[in-house]
Amino acid sequence: MYGSASTHDLPTTAVTGLENEDPILLAEFEARIARGEKIEPGDWMPALYRKQLTRMIEQHAHSEIIGSLPEGTWITRAPGFRRKMAQMAKVQDEVGHAQLLYSAAETLGKTREQMLTDLINGKSKYSNVFNYPTPTWADSNVISWLIDAGAIVNQLANAKGSYGPYCRALDRICAEEAFHLKYGHDAVVHMATGTPIQREMMQAALNRWWPAIMTFFGPSDKMSVHTEILMRWKVKMASNDECRNQFLDMYVPKIWEIGLTLPDANLRKNEETGQWEFTEPDWEDFKRVINGDGPCNAERIAVRRAAEENGAWVRRALLTPKTQYVRPLA
């Protein structure tokens, strides 16, 4: 579970193309959403809804598949057989989530070939946190626990969104996440309450990952573009800042209770407002990394691309002449 619901490249103009939509169909569409009914693939939908959802679900799928790489790094060296098995099961879950999500995005009209092409050519975005490396086992544990925790905050919100196929995929994904969260928490607690060296290693990993974690939910609401219409259409279910605040509320106390610290002297909860205060993340750096200049961008894309290319001959050999592509139904 890796999705950060904020698509990283929302349209910069507030509303695009709505003036070209049929007002009667648009009113029916909005009325359906307002009365709590889901939208299904056969329904009429505004072009902006289709475009925005495709982008969001596709980025979520890419995040699952790319996100399995930094944890996959540690499968062969996870300490002990049981952890190897668990790490493998978790990585397999993430790849399975990508499959579910690509299919949900396909129901909107973009083929899986097009999505994978955009991924391996560096045209699509995925969650920016995976452009950072996992130099130690503890780094992998931080992803398993805290990145998954962040994704759960997002995905539980998005599972209440308006698009049927995405909701179905997320229900399934969320059900598998219970394991990831507990597994990750267990791994972090094990290190944090272990020997001084283990403890030090975990603290160092947390220090490395904290700035990226703080950007996980996307730019601050005060910086991000107009999302009111996406909220009304139940494409976006909670603002970036709401998600971030909820995450901090749930997990900072759990981090502190095992004696770990966080590398931000300004991090504290304002009990009057109920909001967490923190040092504003470096959004310029975030932009630089998401646009390709991070420590692992090239590796992530190259590895994914090599996998696609090395498996191509097998897929060609299996392809039968009568195969025809039909968009998945739901």
Binding site: E37, Q99, S103, E106, R168, R172, K182, T323, Y325
Partner: protein
């Protein structure tokens, strides 16, 4: 060469320079199959999602991995997406059967129709005349999953929806109906049911096997 923390990646010897853009060929990812699973014996088959696969057997393997890996499952069906005929979607309180074209009363239709009665001779004649079985699935609420409601015998997919309307049309709401020719569905065999008993041994992937709270309490007690 790209230097990774993952020794497996280093063995690939990946070049540093960005590779030139490539586009995947059409059908690189094959066609799709829609998958239905059964949660426990006797329960109806419920839609779980599509898989991409070159043929039905492979679709079945992928579906088993994807949809029965983590959850209890006692049976699986896969059917090519193209083999499913569907109605329009309607609202959560309506019936999709109401969107089907109304049939003109035909004097040619045998009455009583053997499709709705226990008429073995009529049934055999109908199969001989080219009628086939179709499995029918209903979606009861938008955002939920299609569920198997039963079989009908019909001369075409469009006919199958009409027969389904006569047989199941009283049910409400029915947001959407799928009809699939029964012969197009690859089904798990009852004799192979031991393939489903794989999950209980894998405790390491159950949330419940991680007793993290005990360790936290012990740590807190020692450090106060």
């Amino acid at each position: 060469m790209i230097q990774s923390h993952d020794p497996r990646m280093n063995r690939l010897g990946l070049p540093d320079a960005p590779a030139p853009a490539v586009a995947k060929e059409a059908l690189d990812q094959f066609g799709t199959y829609e998958v239905f699973h059964q949660k426990k014996e006797g329960a109806p088959f419920v839609y779980v999602g599509p898989v991409h696969a070159p043929e039905a057997d492979v679709a079945f393997l992928f579906a088993k991995e994807q949809f029965s890996r983590r959850f209890a499952c006692t049976g699986l069906w896969v059917v090519p997406t193209a083999a499913i005929t569907l109605t329009d979607y309607v609202g959560d309180t309506e019936s999709a059967y109401d969107t089907l074209p109304l049939l003109a009363k035909s004097s040619a239709a045998p009455a009583p129709d053997s499709r709705y009665t226990d008429d073995t001779a009529g049934e055999e004649a109908a199969y001989a005349a080219g009628e086939e079985d179709y499995d029918i699935f209903h979606l009861k609420k938008r955002g939920k999953a299609h569920q198997h409601v039963g079989k009908v015998r019909a001369s075409s997919p469009a006919d199958a929806l009409q027969v389904a309307k006569a047989v199941f049309g009283e049910q409400r709401p029915v947001v959407n109906v799928w009809a699939a020719r029964s012969a197009d569905i690859l089904r798990s065999d009852d004799e192979d049911r031991d393939i489903w008993t794989t999950t209980p041994e894998k405790k390491y992937r159950d949330a419940i096997s991680y007793k993290v709270q005990d360790r936290i309490e012990k740590f807190k007690a020692e450090n106060q």
